[in-house]
């Protein structure tokens, strides 16, 4: 919620008031029915807040979330049946649920999109089958009974109410802290573009596994409490996909990736649920109970309607509205690119042996990559000396971008070697390469569209440490550096704009600043001048030169030959996946092999020059 202070204060006061009312509710009001309704809303809210971490932040949509309720409930139930109830079954249930979630995460690590949703449905049903068929442990479909709670009857369900209330508060605090730390930033980067996240140094597997655990732990605990509250559990009730649907719906209604949206949504859902459950229709005077079927119709229909008409949810739709109004006001003041020259803030590395005589920073040896029958890169060898701006040119389809992908780790070669700064890296994962000092921009920019420009800049990570996950997302030295770099590329006025709203050329500048956050030794630029206007091209060339003077080595794929001739030395020419020439721009332009590759046979230098 980045709004003017007044609105933020009002929002904070509202949340505080709601929390106080809910905390005092059982003391002020003794209506058992209402208490139960709120209690169930808490349960759905806990599930929804958990779902929001893996699906809202990290973008992995799951329909198996309610399985963790079942796992928590069964963990507590199985032990409680033999040894009586102990309070610590609750955290135990959470721990088991989190453990299963991590296991699931590890197993489905590489699966995305449709397949992921389907796997989570399969997961839920497999869990249900296990609970049904492992009769020696779970009594199968006969279900399990919990020992009766031993506290005064007149307390009604107040202990359960408070247990779930506390769990809800804790899970919201967890979601909040996830959102504002590096951990949450990494998850959102994964949601926006997982490969890109890896390329800027986010070790995606660690982030995803942690997200799985975080999304399940409080749900498992709530499951244990819920089981005890029900006092009887069975597989169908505990591994109920409709409960997953309700949680998903709560988040979709309230707003994906918001902190309190899921809670708001859960309240709405439970309200609707009660309205459909207990509404009785008089059919010729008779009271007909309409429970189960209507639950399906109402929640199925609601979810369909939400997906179709309100895909961003209530809270984001409202804040989008305000954001647009604010953007209107601001665009009147500062809509244009800031082109004033600004000195480079980056702390220059100590660089030895730069330039043509410098040591070799990158060495590619006999690299090969096939796609089916096509050899996109075929026995490619070249080297890049430290401190140079090396160009990689060649006709379309000559394997330039594939070579980039192999160097920065988006693809793995079928054979051959890549050496970077004395280390062999062709089998390393992309984030490891980023940590070593490799940065890369894309031909079609790949910023994290839903993040602000500033957030895009602080998303890259120069190393992986567990402690770092808990660090503030945008803070301290890093934030200052990000702002300096935005100054450097002239994009400071747009720091709080969503990246997706920028023009293509602006995105290119931001992407350059983004990888500079990695303080890379080597920067791979994929068509930095492609598709942007001439003034901006000049500006980018100027920045590249400035950075190069500070010791950054560049490899640039570019079709704009005048720019290459002006900026780069040496130039490496690729054709059909292999290196056919290298030298200065002037040498290359006279090389008959190169002319042949570009223009086909029958062309002569004279013709090409006059053309």
């Amino acid at each position: 919620m980045t709004g003017p202070p007044l609105r933020r204060i009002a929002y904070g006061l509202f949340v505080l008031a709601a929390t106080v009312v809910l905390a005092l509710w059982p003391i002020l009001n003794h209506d058992a029915y209402k208490q139960n309704v709120i209690l169930l809303a808490f349960l759905i809210a806990v599930i929804a807040v958990g779902w929001n971490i893996i699906s809202g932040f990290a973008g992995y949509v799951s329909l198996g979330q309610s399985a963790f309720v079942g796992i928590g409930a069964y963990t507590a139930g199985v032990i409680a049946q033999q040894h009586g109830w102990q309070w610590w079954y609750v955290p135990l249930g959470g721990a088991v649920a989190a453990g299963v979630a991590v296991l699931l995460g590890a197993v489905v690590m590489r699966v995305r999109g449709h397949s992921f949703v389907i796997l989570t449905i399969a997961f839920l049903f497999i869990m249900r089958l296990v609970a049904t068929n492992w009769t020696s442990l779970t009594s199968g479909s006969n279900g399990l009974s919990f020992p009766l709670a031993r506290y005064p009857r007149e307390w009604q369900n107040t202990p359960f109410y408070y247990a779930l209330f506390v769990l809800l508060v804790l899970s919201v605090l967890l979601a909040w802290s996830v959102r504002r730390t590096k951990f949450g930033m990494g998850l959102i980067a994964i949601r926006e573009d997982e490969n890109k996240a890896g390329a800027v140094g986010v070790s995606t597997p660690a982030y995803k596994l942690l997200a799985f655990a975080a999304s399940a732990i409080f749900v498992g605990m709530a499951g244990a409490v819920y089981g005890y509250y029900l006092s009887y559990i069975n597989p169908d009730g505990m591994f109920d996909i409709v409960l997953s649907v309700q949680a998903v719906l709560a988040v979709l209604l309230g707003g994906r990736a918001t902190i309190l949206g899921p809670v708001l949504g859960a309240g709405l859902i439970e309200f609707i649920s009660e309205a459909t459950n207990d509404r009785t229709y008089g059919v010729a005077g008779a009271q007909v109970h309409i429970g189960g079927q209507w639950r399906l119709i109402v929640f199925g229909g609601l979810m369909a309607a939400t997906v179709l008409f309100l895909p961003r949810g209530i809270i984001p739709t409202i804040s989008e509205f305000f954001e647009q109004r604010r953007a209107h006001r601001r665009s009147a003041q500062a809509g244009v690119l800031d082109l004033r020259p600004v000195g480079l803030p980056a702390t220059p590395r100590v660089v030895e042996g730069n330039g043509a005589g410098g040591r070799v920073l990158v060495e590619v040896k006999h690299l090969e990559k096939r796609f089916g029958g096509v050899r996109a890169v075929d026995d490619l060898s070249f080297s890049v000396r430290q401190g140079t701006i090396t160009a990689l040119i060649g006709p379309n389809g000559s394997g330039k971008t594939t070579a980039f992908n192999l160097i920065d780790g988006l693809m793995r070669p079928d054979s051959g070697e890549v050496w970077f700064d004395g280390e062999r890296i062709e089998r390393l994962r992309p984030w490891r390469r980023a940590h070593l000092g490799l940065g890369r921009t894309f031909q079609i920019t790949r910023l994290f569209g839903e993040m602000t420009v500033l957030e895009n800049l602080v998303a890259p990570l120069r190393e992986f440490r567990w402690r770092q996950l808990a660090a503030d997302a945008v803070a301290g030295h890093e934030a200052e550096r990000a702002e300096e770099l935005l100054d450097f590329v002239g994009m400071h006025a747009f720091a709080h704009e969503r990246a997706a709203r920028l023009s293509f050329g602006q995105q290119k500048l931001v992407e350059l600043a983004q990888i500079l956050m990695l303080d890379p030794k080597l920067i791979l630029l994929d068509e930095p001048a492609g598709g942007i206007n001439p003034t901006l091209i000049e500006r980018i060339a100027e920045k590249i030169r400035a950075l190069n003077e500070l010791g950054k080595t560049f490899v640039i794929v570019e079709h704009n030959i005048p720019l290459v001739a002006d900026l780069c030395d040496p130039v490496i020419v690729l054709a059909r996946g292999t290196c056919i020439a290298s030298g200065t721009a002037a040498q290359i332009q006279r090389d008959p092999l190169v002319l042949d590759a570009y223009l086909g046979e029958g062309w002569t230098v004279e013709e090409a020059v006059t053309a």
């Binding site: 949703v117 389907i118 449905i121 049903f125």
Partner: protein, 294 residues
């Protein structure tokens, strides 16, 4: 040994029927990259329609295919225009949407016809062909045979007609298809309608065995297992996958201890194992967005 052959044959008979049921699902995925999770619910709806007409008129379910198929075709076309069209670009959202439609269909079926078991009974119910000591229930033989005939017709339609070629072209290369003048929107609507129409015929054929609203979970898991196994979007893959699934279920029921309880787990296991070990299935090509490159 006879036991084994008996189980194998029953599995294959079931598999033929599964193949028809899965064909629409895989066709729709291949063309529009949407997994219609409501496919199982539509299949059960087809069975209910058959049951309804049969109870009113006493007509044979095999004949009622001629009624249910066009009805479901129309429903598919309307469903595409109203719902599916809007979520085509968003895989996860399209799964959520079609799943919620499945819940609505389940709820409506339960509301109208309750959650009791329903079955269509014909003059040849409980009759069998016997070859040696192998027993072939007539219903299953007819259902399988007709399913294969319909699949054959579908195959001819896809390979021999202009529409079929347009459908395959838009599946393989949408931009290319658009460039040569194929209207992707109407081809998609027709494909979805044809995909749903198969649940009409399929629904009539499954009405021989008992069904109730939540049977759709069983069907959708089975069908997803089949198309994942065969390679999503591949019709021939779905055919082979369906036969394998039919046999696997029959074998588990027969030879695994407490097998009947675990039969429903077979599709889920298949889904898990295939998506993890060989995500493209037996025949399918890689679908890029479903699997991380690194």
């Amino acid at each position: 040994m006879t036991d084994f052959i008996q189980v194998l044959v029953l599995g294959l008979l079931a598999g033929g029927l599964y193949a028809l049921a899965a064909s629409g699902l895989t066709l729709v995925f291949g063309v529009m990259n949407v997994i219609n999770v409501a496919h199982g619910a539509l299949l059960v709806l087809g069975a209910y329609l058959t049951w309804l007409f049969w109870r009113r008129t006493g007509a044979d379910p095999l004949l009622l295919i001629l009624v249910t198929t066009p009805v479901m075709f129309a429903l598919g076309w309307v469903g595409y225009k109203l719902f599916v069209q809007r979520v085509r670009g968003a895989p996860a959202m399209s799964v959520l949407l079609t799943f919620s439609l499945a819940l609505v269909i389940q709820g409506i079926l339960g509301e109208i016809w309750s959650n009791d078991f329903r079955t269509v009974i014909t003059s040849y119910s409980n009759h069998s062909f016997t070859i040696g000591s192998i027993v072939l229930p007539k219903e299953r033989v007819f259902a399988c045979a007709i399913a294969i005939v319909i699949l054959g017709l579908l195959w001819l339609m896809l390979t021999r007609t202009w529409l079929g070629r347009a459908i395959r072209a838009s599946a393989e290369n949408p931009q290319g298809a658009a460039l040569i003048g194929i209207e992707l929107g109407s081809v998609a609507a027709l494909t979805f309608a044809i995909g749903v129409a198969t649940t009409g015929a399929g629904g009539s054929l499954i009405s021989f065995s008992s069904f109730f609203p939540s049977t759709h979970y069983l069907w959708i898991s089975r069908l997803l297992g089949i198309i994942v196994l065969g390679g999503m979007g591949s019709l021939s893959g779905a055919f082979v996958g369906a036969l394998l699934m039919g046999v696997a279920e029959a074998m588990v029921a027969k030879y695994v201890p407490n097998g009947l309880a675990w039969v429903t787990a077979v599709p889920y296991m298949v889904i898990f194992v295939v998506l993890l070990v060989r995500p493209r299935g037996i025949f399918g090509a890689w679908t890029r967005e479903d699997v991380a490159t690194v």
